[in-house]
C-alpha cells in the first residue's frame, strides 16, 4: 500500500470533531444526584440504549458535542456534532397536554398559592407531578416513555439514521437533564405552554377567583383606601343615612369641561394603527356627551 494517504479522501475519524462552545455535561461521575424533574427521562433513555451507545453518548456529552438545543412548545430542536463534517439534526417531540387538560391543571394549580409562588422564583414543587396525576391526566408531567414509535413520549429522531436512541440523542439527553435541573419549569413548556404563559394563566385565574374579574384599567386609589369604610357592625344605630362626606361631594365645584381631555392624553390606540381609533373615539365621546346632556336636561 502506498504511504500516501489521499488528503481529500473522507474517512471517519476516531473521535468526533471538536466543538467549541458546545453544551457540556457537568457531572464527571455518572448521572447520580439528578433531581426528580430530570432523572427519570434520562434514565429511561439510557435503559433503552445499548451499552456502547450509552458509553459514546456519555463521552459526547462530557466533551460538549451538543451544539444547539432549543426548546419550543412540546418540542426540542438540537444539533449534535459527531464524526461527520456537519452536526446531526435532532428532533425530540413531546406529547402536549390538550387545552382541556391544561384548563384542569391550571385550575388545580390555582387552588394553592404555593404553586404560583414557587413558579415565580423558577422552582417546581415536587407535588406538581402528583397534582397532574391526581387529575387523571394520562400524560405525566415528567416524560418517561422515550422511543421512536408514534405514541412514544418523547418521540426521538436523529438525522444519523441509526436506531434510536442513538449516541447523539443520548448525549443531548444528558444536556437536557442538567438543563431541567436548573430550569425545572421547562417541563411545562415541553407539555405545550411557555412558563410565562402558565404564570399569566394562573394569575388571571386567581384574579378572577378573588376579585371576580380581570380588567384592563387600573383600580382607583380611593378603592383601596380602607380608612374610608366603617364596618357595618358598628353602624347599626346609623344604618340608613349617607355619611357627612356626601355633603362635601355636593358642594365641590364642577371642574370646567375640556373637550376630549382624556382622549388627547391617551394618544394612539392599542390596535397599532389598524383602525382610525382616535377619530372614532372622538366621535363617540361627542355623541355620548350629547346623549348624557339630553338625559340630564330631560327632567
Amino acid at each position: 500500500m502506498t504511504q500516501w494517504q489521499e488528503p481529500n479522501t473522507p474517512r471517519p475519524p476516531e473521535n468526533p470533531r471538536r466543538v467549541i462552545g458546545g453544551y457540556k455535561f457537568k457531572r464527571k461521575q455518572g448521572i447520580e444526584d439528578l433531581p426528580w424533574t430530570a432523572e427519570p427521562l434520562l434514565r429511561a433513555v439510557l435503559e433503552a440504549a445499548d451499552a456502547e451507545t450509552r458509553e459514546e453518548g456519555y463521552s459526547y456529552a462530557l466533551s460538549g458535542q451538543t451544539v444547539t438545543m432549543l426548546p419550543f412548545d412540546a418540542r426540542i430542536a438540537a444539533s449534535v456534532q459527531g464524526r461527520s463534517s456537519r452536526p446531526y439534526q435532532l428532533e425530540i417531540t413531546f406529547t402536549p397536554w390538550t387545552p382541556e387538560e391544561w384548563d384542569k391543571i391550571i385550575a388545580a394549580l390555582c387552588g394553592e398559592a404555593i404553586f404560583a409562588a414557587r413558579f415565580l422564583i423558577g422552582e417546581m414543587p415536587a407535588s406538581t407531578a402528583t397534582v397532574v396525576a391526581d387529575l387523571g391526566i394520562r400524560t405525566p408531567l415528567v416524560p418517561i416513555k422515550p422511543g421512536a414509535k408514534g405514541n412514544c413520549d418523547p418521540l426521538m429522531k436523529c438525522s444519523c439514521g441509526a436506531t434510536q436512541p442513538c449516541k447523539h440523542v443520548v448525549a443531548m439527553m444528558h444536556i437536557l437533564a442538567e438543563r431541567l435541573e436548573e430550569e425545572p419549569l421547562l417541563l411545562l413548556q415541553l407539555r405545550g405552554m411557555p412558563v410565562a404563559r402558565v404564570l399569566e394563566r394562573i394569575h388571571e385565574k386567581r384574579t378572577l377567583a378573588t376579585r371576580g374579574a380581570n380588567q384592563a384599567h387600573p383600580t382607583p386609589q380611593a378603592a383601596n383606601d380602607h380608612a374610608l369604610v366603617t364596618p357595618l357592625e358598628t353602624m347599626l344605630h346609623d344604618f340608613w343615612r349617607p355619611g357627612r362626606r356626601l355633603h362635601d361631594l355636593e358642594s365641590r365645584p364642577v371642574p370646567t369641561h375640556t373637550p376630549h381631555a382624556l382622549l388627547r392624553r391617551l394618544g394612539a390606540s392599542p390596535l397599532g394603527g389598524r383602525f382610525p381609533l382616535v377619530g372614532l373615539l372622538a366621535t363617540i365621546y361627542d355623541i355620548a356627551r350629547e346623549r348624557g346632556t339630553a338625559l340630564r336636561d330631560r327632567v
Binding site: 404563559r197 388571571e204 378572577l208 371576580g212 374579574a213 380581570n214 380588567q215 384592563a216 387600573p218 382607583p220 386609589q221 380611593a222 378603592a223 383606601d225 374610608l228 369604610v229 357595618l232 357592625e233 353602624m235 347599626l236 344605630h237 344604618f239 340608613w240 343615612r241 349617607p242 355619611g243 357627612r244 362626606r245 356626601l246 361631594l249 365641590r252 365645584p253 364642577v254 371642574p255 370646567t256 373637550p259 381631555a261 388627547r264 392624553r265 391617551l266 394618544g267 390606540s269 392599542p270 390596535l271 397599532g272 389598524r274 383602525f275 372614532l280 363617540i284 365621546y285 361627542d286 355623541i287 355620548a288 356627551r289 346623549r291 346632556t293 338625559l295 340630564r296 336636561d297 327632567v299
Partner: protein, 1087 residues
C-alpha cells in the same frame, strides 16, 4: 305611603319599599322575610303613577343584612325580635329614638323591583329631579340621596367625556368590552372617595358580600356608564365601522365589536383575547403615568415678550421655558437652561451649586418628561431635536392655542403650566357693561298719574330708566372704531393699552353687531336688571360683565354695602328701645325700597330682630313731617307668633293701633272695613287670609308683610294665590331661612315681593334651578345671586358688621297663644281644681293644687302630654323606655300615635318646629330643655317627623357612658345632629355643649338660676358665637303670670324663687284663681 329603598347587586338595581300601612299593623314576624316590605306590584304602581310605565322592571328579591331589634316582652323573659324600621319610616310613624336598644344584623329577604342598568340610571335621575315636589304615593329613604349622587356621578362622567373603553375578563373566563368612567384623576378620585366614605350601611348590606362599598360602586358605575354609551352607539350603528373584519379571528376587530355593538363579548381565541387585555392595559396606563411614576415633573412657563406699551404684540415672539419641579414642593423650579449648563464653578451659590451628578440625573428626567409631554403636544418634538432643549419659541397665535387648548390637558396629565396672571381672567375678555342713568329720586306715582297724594310711592319695577351699552376690553372702555381696527388684525391675543387681552375674532364680531343694534334708550327697571345680569339680555354671545348706574338705581344696586349710597335713617322718635346699628341700616334699606315702591325680603338670621326692624319701619313712615295719614299695614303670620307680634308692637310702638283679625267673632264686611281704617296694623294668620279672601281684597293696603314667609309654597297653593291677590302698595317678606340657597322658596318669596322679577316658575326652573341644582353651575348661581341681591337682605350673626353689635347672649321670650284644644283642657282643669280646693284643706288641698299645677303645665306643653297619649298600645301608662329593661314591654313596632305628633295641637310645639326648622336650615345647633321626660320623647318623635332630622335625647335614665357618647356626638358639630333635647334635671348641669348657639326653654322652671345654669351649657368658655335663648311662655296662662312676677320682682316672686312649686299651695283660693285662670287675649285658637 311607601318608603322606597335601593340596592345594587349583580348589575341590577333592586328597588324595594317599606309600607307604612303594613308597618303599623303587622305583628312581629320571625321569618327571614322582611315583615313590612311592600309587594313589587304596589311599588310598581306607586312609581308608575309618577314616572310612567316601567316596562323593563321585573319582580325579584334580594337578601340583605338589616338591623333587627330585640326586646324583652314580659316577665317570662321571652324576647321578640323584629326588623327595625328604616330611619325614614321611623320618623314618619313617630317611632322614638331608642338608643338603648340592642340591635343585631340579621339576614332579611325583601321583594324587589329589579331594573337593568340603563333603566336604573334613568329612574334614579328622575326620582332625584322630582324630589322637590314629592309624590303622595311614596317618599324616598335617606339612603336614596346617596344613590342619586352616584347616578349623577356616573352621568357626569359621560357628559364630561371622562369615560374609557376597557376590557374585562369575567369570572367564567370570558372577555368583554366595557365603557366605564376613568376614576384615577385627582378630581374624580376625590369624588369617588366622598362616595365610598358616605355610602350608607343600608346600601352595602348585601347578605353574602363583605359589605365593602367599592365592589358595588365599581359595578354600578361600569354597568350604567356602559349602558348609556353602548345604547347610544348601537342606536347610531357604530358597529358598521368594523364591517368586513372577521371578529372571530381578528382580535382588534373583536375588541371594537365588544365596545360598539349590543353584545359586549370579545369572541376570539382566549389567548388572543388576553393579548387584547394586555395591550389595552398598556394603552390605558398612559393616563395613570403621572400618578404612578414618582419624581420630578415637567413645568412649562409661558414668558411674555418684552414690548413697549404701544405695541400690539401681534407679531411678537413668545417663549415657553422648560423646567422641573418636585410636585410636593412646586415652588422650587429647576430651570432647564441651568440643568443643561455644566457647572463651571464660575457661578455663585444658589441653585447652581447642585452637584454635577445630580444635574445629569435631573436632565435625564427632563428629557423623559418632555418625551411624555410630546405625546400630547407633538410640536415638542422640534424642541427635542436640540441637544439641550430648554424651551420652545412660539408666535402669538401659537401661544394662544397652547394656553387655551393644550394647557388644561397638560395639567391633567400631571404637568405644571405657568401662564401670565391675566390669562383666563374675565377682565381680559371682551365684555359689555350696561350703563343705567337715573335721577337721584325716582319718579313717583303721584307725579305720573296726578293726584294720589297720600303716600306717593315709586313705580317700582316698572320705573323707566335710561340706558346704553358700553363695550370694554378688560377694564378699558372701547369705541366702535377701536373695535373695528382691532378686528382687522385678526389675532386672538392683542395688547390694548399695554395689557394683553384675549380677543377672539368672533367676540369682536358679536360686540360690533351688538353695539350697532343696541344704541340705547329707555326701558323699565325690571328689564334693565334682568338684562344687566345676562338674562333677557343680548342674545349674542357677549358676556355681560355688569352694570354701572347713577342716581337711585345706583343706590338700589349697592344696597347696604356702601353707606354713602343711601341716606341712613335715624331711629324713629317713638321707638321705645334701642336699635342696634345693623338694625338701623336694615330699617334704612326697608324704607328706601319702600319709597321706590319695590318689595323687599328681610332674611336676617334668627335672633337678629326682624320684628323690631319692621316695627321701626311702621313708625318711621309716620314721622315724616306733614305726611298725610298712612294707610293700614296687614301683617300675615303663623298662628304661633301672633302673640309675639302683639306684644312686641305694644312694647316698642305703643302709639300704633293694632287690630287682631282672628277668631270666630272676627269682623266681617263693612264693619271690617271701617275697623281697619281706624288702625295702623292689622294682624292675621295665613289661614284666615284664605278664608277671608274677599274682605281682605276689598281693602287698599299700605303694605302687606309676611312673617315666616317660607310659608308661601311653591307650587302655589290657595293660600299663596290669596296672598298674592291682595291690593297693596308695597310688600315685605320676613324669613329666617337662607332663602338664597333654597331656590323654590326664593322664587315664591320674590314672586310675592317683586312679581314677575324672576319670570314664571317654569322659566325660573329651566333657567336657574335646573342648572344650579343639577349641574352645580356656579356661574348661574352667581348671576342669580347678583340678580336678587338688591331685594334680599340677609345678615348672619357672624357677619363682621353685625357681630360687634351683638352681645354674647340674647334672651327673648316667645309668647305663644294656646290652641282651642288647650284652652278647653286648661279651663276644665282650673274649674275642677278651684271647685275642689274650696272644700278641702291641709295636705289634701296641697296635693290638689300641686297636681293641678302639673296638669296645667302639661297642657301648655301639648295636649298629648297631659292626656298621656304618649306611646303605642303596648306601653300605655308606663314610661316609654324603662332603664331596667326587663320590666318594660316594648312593642316591636313601637310608635307614638300620629295625633300626638301633630305640632299644631299646641302653640308651643308648632312654634318650636318652625324655629328649629330655621336653626337647621341655617346650619346652627340648638339645645331644647324640658322638665318632662315624657315631653322629651314627644318632641323627639315630632322633630323627626316634621323636620326629618335625628335629634339627640338625654334624660335621667341615660347611662353615663351613653351621656358621654351623646355629648361627644353633638359637640362634633358635623351637622348630622343639630338638635339636642335634654331633660332639665339631667342635662342642666355639668355638660359642655358649646356647639349650640340656640337654647330653647320649652317649659319653665320658676327658678331663673336653674334656667341660667341650663343656658350655661352653651353659654360658657369655648363658645365663640352669640347664644340666643328662647323662653317659651303660653299667653294668658299661669306661665305668663309667674314670668311677669319674676320679671317685676314682686314680693310674691321672692317666694317663688327657690321654693319650687310649694309656695303655690299656700295661696288663698282667690289668689290662686287670680294666678291660674286663663286670661283670654283674643289670640287663642287653632289655624
Amino acid at each position: 305611603m311607601l318608603v322606597v329603598h335601593a340596592n345594587w347587586s349583580d348589575e341590577t338595581l333592586h328597588l324595594w319599599a317599606e309600607s307604612l300601612s303594613c308597618a303599623v299593623t303587622l305583628e312581629s314576624v320571625t321569618a327571614p322575610m322582611h315583615p313590612f316590605v311592600a309587594s313589587p306590584r304596589d311599588l310598581r304602581g306607586a312609581l308608575e303613577s309618577v314616572f310612567g310605565s316601567l316596562d323593563g322592571a321585573m319582580d325579584g328579591h334580594l337578601d340583605l343584612l338589616l338591623p333587627h331589634f330585640h326586646a324583652t316582652l314580659d316577665r317570662l323573659d321571652s324576647t321578640r325580635s323584629s326588623t327595625l324600621p328604616s330611619s325614614r319610616l321611623a320618623g314618619l310613624m313617630g317611632r322614638p329614638t331608642l338608643d338603648e336598644e340592642s340591635l343585631t344584623l340579621e339576614p332579611t329577604r325583601v321583594a324587589t323591583l329589579a331594573l337593568a342598568p340603563g333603566a336604573a340610571l334613568q329612574l334614579l335621575l328622575a326620582m332625584r329631579a322630582c324630589e322637590e315636589s314629592p309624590a303622595d304615593e311614596f317618599v324616598v329613604a335617606h339612603s336614596m340621596h346617596w344613590w342619586f349622587a352616584l347616578a349623577q356621578f356616573a352621568l357626569d362622567s359621560v357628559i364630561d367625556q371622562r369615560v374609557i373603553p376597557t376590557v374585562l375578563q369575567r369570572r367564567d373566563g370570558t372577555f368583554a368590552g366595557q365603557w366605564r368612567p376613568w376614576l384615577n384623576d385627582p378630581d374624580a378620585n376625590t369624588q369617588l372617595a366622598d362616595l365610598l366614605a358616605s355610602m350608607p350601611a343600608a346600601a352595602r348590606a348585601i347578605d353574602g358580600s363583605d359589605g365593602q362599598p367599592w365592589p358595588i360602586v365599581d359595578s354600578f358605575l361600569g354597568a350604567t356608564v356602559d349602558s348609556i354609551v353602548r345604547s347610544t352607539l348601537v342606536g347610531e350603528n357604530f358597529d358598521e365601522s368594523i364591517e368586513g373584519f372577521d371578529t372571530s379571528v381578528d382580535a382588534h376587530a373583536a375588541w371594537l365589536s365588544g365596545l360598539l355593538s349590543a353584545n359586549d363579548s370579545i369572541t376570539v381565541a382566549r389567548r388572543t383575547s388576553f393579548d387584547v387585555l394586555r395591550d389595552t392595559r398598556g394603552w390605558l396606563s398612559v393616563l395613570d403615568e403621572a400618578r404612578v411614576t414618582t419624581g420630578m415633573r415637567l413645568r412649562f412657563e409661558v414668558r411674555e415678550p418684552d414690548l413697549d406699551a404701544a405695541e400690539d404684540g401681534i407679531d411678537a415672539q413668545w417663549h415657553v421655558g422648560f423646567g422641573l419641579v418636585d410636585p410636593d414642593a412646586p415652588d422650587t423650579v429647576f430651570d432647564a437652561q441651568m440643568l443643561f449648563d455644566r457647572p463651571t464653578g464660575k457661578r455663585k451659590g444658589g441653585a447652581a451649586s447642585i452637584a454635577g451628578g445630580r444635574n445629569d440625573e435631573l436632565a435625564e428626567m427632563l428629557l423623559k418628561e418632555l418625551a411624555r409631554a410630546s405625546r400630547i403636544w407633538p410640536q415638542l418634538d422640534e424642541a427635542l431635536e436640540d441637544e439641550a432643549p430648554s424651551g420652545i419659541d412660539l408666535d402669538t397665535r401659537q401661544v394662544y392655542q397652547f394656553m387655551r387648548d393644550l394647557r388644561p390637558i397638560l395639567l391633567e396629565a400631571g404637568f405644571f403650566v405657568e401662564v401670565p396672571e391675566w390669562w383666563g381672567e374675565s377682565a381680559s375678555r371682551i365684555n359689555a357693561n350696561l350703563l343705567i342713568d337715573s335721577p337721584d329720586a325716582p319718579p313717583t306715582s303721584a307725579e305720573s298719574d296726578g293726584n294720589r297724594g297720600a303716600g306717593s310711592l315709586g313705580l317700582g319695577l316698572q320705573s323707566l330708566v335710561g340706558y346704553r351699552w358700553q363695550v370694554a376690553l378688560g377694564t378699558q372702555n372701547v369705541s366702535i372704531e377701536m373695535l373695528e381696527k382691532l378686528s382687522q388684525k385678526g389675532s386672538p391675543l392683542v395688547r390694548v393699552g399695554g395689557r394683553w387681552v384675549d380677543l377672539r375674532p368672533e367676540d369682536i364680531e358679536s360686540a360690533l353687531k351688538f353695539l350697532r343694534s343696541h344704541p340705547g334708550g329707555t326701558m323699565t327697571l325690571v328689564e334693565a336688571m334682568r338684562m344687566a345680569h345676562g338674562i333677557d339680555g343680548p342674545p349674542e354671545a357677549l358676556p355681560v360683565s355688569g352694570v354701572q348706574a347713577t342716581g337711585w338705581v345706583k343706590q338700589l344696586l349697592s344696597g347696604t354695602d356702601s353707606s354713602e349710597a343711601f341716606q341712613m335713617a335715624g331711629p324713629p322718635a317713638t321707638f321705645q328701645g334701642t336699635l342696634r346699628p345693623y338694625q338701623l341700616s336694615g330699617l334704612s334699606w326697608l324704607a328706601f325700597l319702600d319709597r321706590l315702591g319695590l318689595g323687599a325680603c328681610l332674611a336676617d338670621d334668627m335672633g337678629l330682630g326682624k320684628t323690631i326692624q319692621l316695627i321701626a319701619l311702621l313708625q318711621h313712615e309716620r314721622t315724616k313731617i306733614g305726611a298725610a295719614k298712612i294707610g293700614p299695614s296687614l301683617l300675615v303670620t303663623p298662628m304661633s307668633v301672633m302673640g309675639n307680634w302683639k306684644r312686641e308692637l305694644a312694647r316698642f310702638a305703643p302709639e300704633l293701633t293694632v287690630m287682631i283679625h282672628h277668631g270666630l267673632d272676627r269682623a266681617a264686611g263693612e264693619r271690617f272695613a271701617s275697623l281697619v281704617s281706624d288702625h295702623d296694623v292689622v294682624l292675621t294668620t295665613y289661614s284666615i287670609v284664605v278664608r277671608d279672601k274677599e274682605v281682605l281684597q276689598s281693602i287698599q293696603w299700605r303694605r302687606v308683610v309676611l312673617d315666616e314667609a317660607q310659608y308661601i309654597k311653591n307650587p302655589p297653593t290657595k293660600q299663596t294665590v290669596a296672598i298674592r291677590s291682595l291690593n297693596t302698595q308695597s310688600r315685605i317678606a320676613l324669613t329666617g331661612t337662607p332663602v338664597e340657597n333654597r331656590l323654590a322658596e326664593l322664587w315664591s318669596i320674590l314672586e310675592f315681593c317683586c312679581p314677575g322679577y324672576l319670570g314664571t316658575n317654569q322659566d325660573f326652573r329651566r333657567r336657574f334651578a335646573g342648572p344650579i341644582e343639577r349641574n352645580r353651575d356656579r356661574k348661574t348661581a352667581d348671576r342669580l345671586r347678583a340678580l336678587v341681591r338688591p331685594f334680599i337682605l340677609r345678615r348672619l350673626k357672624t357677619d363682621p358688621k353685625v357681630i360687634n353689635d351683638l352681645p354674647p347672649l340674647i334672651e327673648s321670650r316667645q309668647h305663644i297663644a294656646l290652641t282651642d284644644e288647650q284652652v278647653k283642657l286648661y279651663d276644665e282643669v282650673v274649674a275642677e281644681m278651684l271647685n275642689k280646693v274650696d272644700h278641702s284643706d291641709g295636705i289634701r288641698r296641697r296635693g290638689l293644687v300641686l297636681s293641678a299645677l302639673v296638669k296645667l303645665k302639661q297642657i301648655c306643653n301639648h295636649p298629648a302630654h297631659y292626656l298621656g297619649e304618649a306611646i303605642g298600645t303596648a306601653t300605655r301608662g308606663t314610661e316609654l323606655v324603662d332603664d331596667s329593661e326587663s320590666d318594660s314591654a316594648v312593642s316591636p313596632l313601637l310608635s307614638i300615635q300620629q295625633s300626638s305628633l301633630t305640632p299644631s295641637r299646641s302653640g308651643k310645639t308648632q312654634r318650636l318646629i318652625e324655629m328649629l326648622g330655621e336653626v337647621v336650615a341655617a346650619g346652627d345647633c340648638a339645645l331644647v330643655f324640658t322638665q318632662y321626660r315624657q315631653m322629651g320623647h314627644l318632641l323627639d318623635a315630632m322633630i323627626r317627623q316634621s323636620l326629618d332630622v335625628e335629634p339627640l335625647f338625654l334624660h335621667g335614665g341615660t347611662s353615663q357612658q351613653k351621656r358621654d357618647a351623646l355629648v361627644e356626638r353633638f359637640q362634633k358639630g358635623d351637622g348630622t345632629t343639630p338638635i339636642f333635647i335634654l331633660s332639665l334635671k339631667a342635662g342642666g348641669v355639668g355638660l359642655n355643649l358649646t356647639a349650640a348657639n340656640h337654647v330653647f326653654h320649652f317649659d319653665r322652671w320658676w327658678n331663673p338660676a336653674v334656667e341660667n345654669q341650663a343656658t350655661d351649657r352653651a353659654f360658657r368658655i369655648g363658645q365663640t358665637r352669640t347664644v340666643n335663648v328662647h323662653k317659651y311662655i303660653c299667653t294668658g296662662s299661669l306661665e305668663e303670670r309667674i314670668d311677669q312676677m319674676i320679671e317685676q320682682k314682686t314680693e310674691l316672686a321672692t317666694h317663688v324663687i327657690g321654693a319650687g312649686d310649694a309656695w303655690l299651695t299656700e295661696l288663698s283660693t282667690n289668689q290662686l284663681r287670680d294666678l291660674i285662670t286663663l286670661r283670654k287675649t283674643g289670640l287663642e285658637g287653632s289655624e
